[in-house]
């Protein structure tokens, strides 16, 4: 409810970077062993499916999924669905992040906002926001807008929390220094607080983009006319599991591209951020 499935995503990405770094330090076993395990796993999967041990309709073989994927990318309807979901996620992400950033700044800069909003934020974080999907559908219809609102709602909170904690994270010494130089509140914000808060803010954007995707897909599950979520659902219910897996692969790739783009942006903007 708090962070939906995104921390897994973030954790996995962090852990992936660590593993790749170890790999760079010349530990070949790190490639070889996983490659062997993976090959064995795929081989067993292929065999289980093709030998009829598990019905091929229920568990399609990896080769079938691959050929479905090849078919899929040749259809324009598939690219249209991808485009719809991508738009929903990105617009939702931008809307959610901007709102969170403005509100977070108000909360961190003005004590009265801070006092009033803090407990509410915590309460909302624990509530299952994903359950609002049907409400948004009733309010905003079966088109893209209900998905955008869901995506924005889900990715709003992690950003808000990080903006607030980031802005409040400036050390008391540097604040005192700014004051002793006679800096105004605005100058303190622009020259000290904002730069200090950017690493935390950008870290939360990576969580937010993954959440926005999940929000869009779940809202599509509840009710939509087009999109990758609709496609997965239709294909699964028509027992086209292989095609359904193929769409899942595309969805994962889309998520990776978004995540990568956000990480690049982070590296460019907060270039001074120390690597762990």
């Amino acid at each position: 409810m708090t962070q939906e499935a995104a921390p897994s995503y973030e954790l996995a990405a962090d852990e992936g970077v660590r593993l790749v770094e170890r790999l760079r330090h010349g530990k070949l076993g790190l490639v070889l062993l996983p490659a062997v395990t993976l090959a064995v796993a795929v081989g067993v999967w292929q065999w289980v499916s093709k030998s009829g041990l598990v019905n091929e309709i229920i568990l399609p073989a990896p080769t079938d999924i691959a050929s479905e994927l090849v078919d899929l990318v040749q259809q324009s309807s598939f690219w249209h669905a991808t485009w719809v979901t991508a738009q929903e996620a990105v617009i939702g992400f931008v809307a959610g992040v901007l709102t969170a950033w403005v509100l977070g700044t108000l909360i961190a800069m003005f004590r009265i906002f801070s006092l009033a909003f803090y407990p509410l934020i915590i309460a909302f974080q624990i509530s299952p926001r994903i359950a609002l999907a049907p409400v948004f559908l009733t309010w905003f219809g079966f088109g893209m807008s209900s998905k955008i609102v869901m995506a924005a709602t889900i990715c709003f909170f992690p950003v808000l929390v990080n903006v607030v904690l980031g802005l409040e994270g400036a050390s008391a010494d540097s604040r005192a220094l700014m004051r002793s130089f006679g800096a105004s509140k605005w100058e303190t914000y622009r020259k000290l607080l904002l730069p200090t808060s950017l690493p935390a803010t950008f870290a939360s954007l990576k969580v937010a983009i993954a959440l926005a995707m999940i929000g869009a897909v779940v809202a599509e599950f509840v009710g939509a006319s087009e999109g990758l979520g609709v496609l997965i659902r239709q294909l699964s219910f028509q027992l086209e599991i292989a095609a359904s897996f193929a769409v899942l692969i595309v969805l994962s790739l889309l998520g990776l591209v978004f995540y990568g783009a956000t990480s690049l942006l982070e590296a460019k903007v907060v270039y001074w951020r120390g690597r762990t």
Partner: protein, 275 residues
């Protein structure tokens, strides 16, 4: 930033700030302003709905939501739905935690398992799990099995990663001491590694329980005969938005209760953990 890749909650940092405030600054303001804000929001909402600026069907007044909740509380189907969703989340949680803990222990204890499985498991986490819901429903049907499977699939990874890190970060000197005393691998695990990794595991449990509920809810949205998410969906599609909100409210309470129980357990079992 050594603990960065541990599954910690950002929420807890916010809670700490709030706690510190309650201790130091004037408590009246800390309680007063949130109450004012809540009243302001509820008041505006009530007014918007009752004055007809927004259609009352689409945005029912808070008082109507409370009424609906009271009415729902007297029906059997509401409690049935609540029970179904609770079961799905809890079974999924137990399954996910067990799998995450078992795999995490295997990977944390054995170099070969770490190298062979860990990169692959990490890679599988880059798939948005919730998108698996329709496939799980095709596999396991419209009953609760597909719901707890999705819940388990979503909540096992934070546990796994915290177990792996928890085992990795155990003090090297302590391990050397155990070995120099001639402890077997099993003794080393039972007397040192397991207790030392418990705080990390419990931190993950709090995340896992919230994930489990999300998994149950999403799977119910995709296809189910009963459960709270089914109710939310049905009510909204019948334009009974007030009833829909009432169930969402109840679901939030359920989430809070499950979370609270996990926190209590943590305080009991890993009592030595610093705050």
């Amino acid at each position: 930033m050594t603990g960065r890749s541990l599954a910690r909650e950002r929420r807890s940092e916010a809670v700490e700030v709030l706690r510190a405030r309650l201790r130091e600054s004037d408590r009246v303001a800390v309680v007063f302003w949130p109450v004012v804000l809540v009243l302001l929001i509820l008041g505006t909402w009530q007014w918007l709905s009752k004055s007809g600026i927004v259609d009352e069907v689409l945005l029912p007044a808070p008082t109507d939501v409370v009424d609906s909740l009271r009415r729902l509380g007297n029906t059997y189907f509401f409690w049935d739905a609540a029970w179904v969703t609770t079961q799905e989340a809890l079974i999924g949680f137990v399954l996910g935690v067990f799998v995450g803990w078992a795999l995490g222990t295997l990977i944390g204890m054995s170099r070969i398992a770490y190298r062979a499985f860990y990169p692959i498991i990490v890679a599988t986490q880059l798939v948005p799990h919730t998108a698996f819901a329709p496939i799980f429903i095709t596999w396991f049907g419209f009953g609760i099995a597909s719901k707890y499977t999705l819940a388990a699939a979503i909540c096992f990874f934070p546990v796994l990663i915290n177990v792996v890190h928890g085992l990795e970060t155990v003090n090297r000197d302590a391990r050397a001491l155990m070995r120099s005393l001639g402890a077997s691998r099993w003794e080393e695990y039972r007397k040192l590694l397991f207790p030392a990794s418990l705080p990390a595991i419990f931190a993950a449990l709090k995340i896992a329980i919230t994930f489990a509920l999300v998994g149950a809810v999403v799977a119910e949205f995709v296809g189910a005969d009963e459960g709270m998410a089914v109710l939310i969906k049905t009510f909204n599609f019948q334009l009974l938005v007030a009833e829909g909100f009432a169930v969402i409210l109840a679901l939030s309470v359920l989430g809070l209760v499950l979370y609270g129980v996990t926190v209590l357990l943590e305080a009991r079992i890993v009592f030595w953990r610093q705050h």
